[in-house]
Symmetry: C2
Subunit: 349 residues, 2 copies
Amino acid sequence: MTTLTDVAARAGVSASTVSYVISGKRPISQGTRARVMRAVAELGYHPNAGARALASHQSNLIAMMVPLRSDMYMPVMMEIAMAVAAVARQGGRDVLLMTGDEGSAGVRRVAASGLADAVILMDVELDDQRIPVLRETAIPSVLIGRPQAPGELTCVDLDFGATGAACVDHLADLGHRRIALIGADAGVYHRGTGFAARTLDGFGRRARQRGLEARHFPCDGTFEGTARLVEQILEGRAAVTGLVVQNENALGPLLHLLRQYGRAVPEDVSVVAICPEQLALQSMPQLTAVAVPVRELGRRAVGLAAAQLAGLPTEGLSLIPPRLVVRGSTGRPTVATPSPRRAAPLVEA
Amino acid sequence: MTTLTDVAARAGVSASTVSYVISGKRPISQGTRARVMRAVAELGYHPNAGARALASHQSNLIAMMVPLRSDMYMPVMMEIAMAVAAVARQGGRDVLLMTGDEGSAGVRRVAASGLADAVILMDVELDDQRIPVLRETAIPSVLIGRPQAPGELTCVDLDFGATGAACVDHLADLGHRRIALIGADAGVYHRGTGFAARTLDGFGRRARQRGLEARHFPCDGTFEGTARLVEQILEGRAAVTGLVVQNENALGPLLHLLRQYGRAVPEDVSVVAICPEQLALQSMPQLTAVAVPVRELGRRAVGLAAAQLAGLPTEGLSLIPPRLVVRGSTGRPTVATPSPRRAAPLVEA
DNA sequence: TTGAAAGCGCTAACAT
DNA sequence: ATGTTAGCGCTTTCAA
């Protein structure tokens, strides 16, 4: 095993000089640097991580807690995790993967042991038990999601309020007058992570502003549950022509059911999804959707953690604006909606 | 920050005694142990990870390399990763998440720096560049998947040969005489990770043994590509009645196309999938399938890594036998197959 | 611009 | 059953 001392000996300098060449924390002459670098390369030297951590009080590790089971879709978690890992490496850091079931004890453990320099928490709940530990230990941290009382904590999230509004705008622009939001399970709105409530809020607000008739249906995501909704939504003369869907599990059944009921998408019903991009792409037709910006979330989380480690203030909420991508599942309503008081503004799709 | 010395002082013992109480590496009297444990609890002591690693030459970290983009389905990766993390924790170890794009340099880095004690490689390719580094550094390692020349390396994998055979058996038992395998992209069979070839081999062998007429169709997973296949498969008088599908992307289009062609599943065509369990469950009908045993793969990988760290020999291949779960997508062929020489054995589904 | 040396907090001989 | 002590390999003052 090669150590600093080996490299120093080979380069004919002191150990501290080698250390400084590697860290770049003090000016080194051209010649010395060259000889040291050469020795490093020749010996295939890699600084010992433990020794480094001990001496510098920095592990260069960022802990990331991922929920074992979650309301969130697994691939989304994975993509965020991978983005975090990739971006962290670019900053010379590694990522520790922790399962959410370690809970607050896990956060305390990595903080107190100095295993990690910072913590990224995914799928944060409204009243998350890990948050007090974040404050106690004062470890640099970033939350992906929004707790009830963020306080001075740093959070990153998709702007779900704006997302709901953007979906409404898109449908309204196309000329839809009667729309509905098929949302998360009813339980989520109560205990949930808050994203559902914020989407609903943005959806309702904007619908009112634009004078649309809007309804909201929580959905458990099962086939049967979705089937019940679809009947409600399609029946009657005042049938809905535009659907916003924020429920990955319901999407498959929904599209199937619409087909079964003889409603073509987008001719009879337009569908806007709020879902992982992959899902939007693999559906038939491909879905007009606002995707969870996984890479951007990961990137920002690491960036903010790094900023805190550098002593910069990062408090507050970093909201990512939604990007609605128009695909094949939305279009103008072809059946004239009954008694439209005035025509809605029509825009090219 | 609390250190060993603090705890020792509080408990009125020497630092080494505290260390031994914690590690359990030598007998300690009841009284001493109790006082030490109490001090630990009162002070909220957590051993410093860096110091520990430096002194013990063990980081208690297992590095896991996950491909950034892969032939494998993302959720599968995620579930394996989470299983690895959870099981590793039970053994007192943490998991380092690395992206596959770090390649062999990444393996060398964590091995040489002592950052990780062992490495778990996912989605190993037939001729993987990281494998030589595994040998050079002699770091304990487990491969999930099978390289061309495993040699003395430890590998874990689903037994894809047996999987192909099991699917054939199931269809044959139901009375199907003409079956087909819809497989991975043609490219995968050439450069691929080998799982595709082994499945095909098991499929073909068993079909021959049982006297079935079997065909094989590589598939690119696109809608168009799948559509072309479906036509070939369904046309003619000698149409296939049983399908084995080892292609996550093709499953959705396939089911859709069968419906479109007026073929009911399982009445007209039986479908056996080799896919993540979630996919089998969320399809309509739910699919008879062999699932990738994600948790078991993770569990075994960590177990084998731990065994190596304990100095036990683990060389060779650990194959997980397939478990075919019968669901709604398979049944007896209702249309008598033309001129069956002798009846195939019929078994209750 | 470089070197010498004192730790960082823990483990593991070596003692007793 | 417990204490003493010498490092582990690096960073970082302090000196020159």
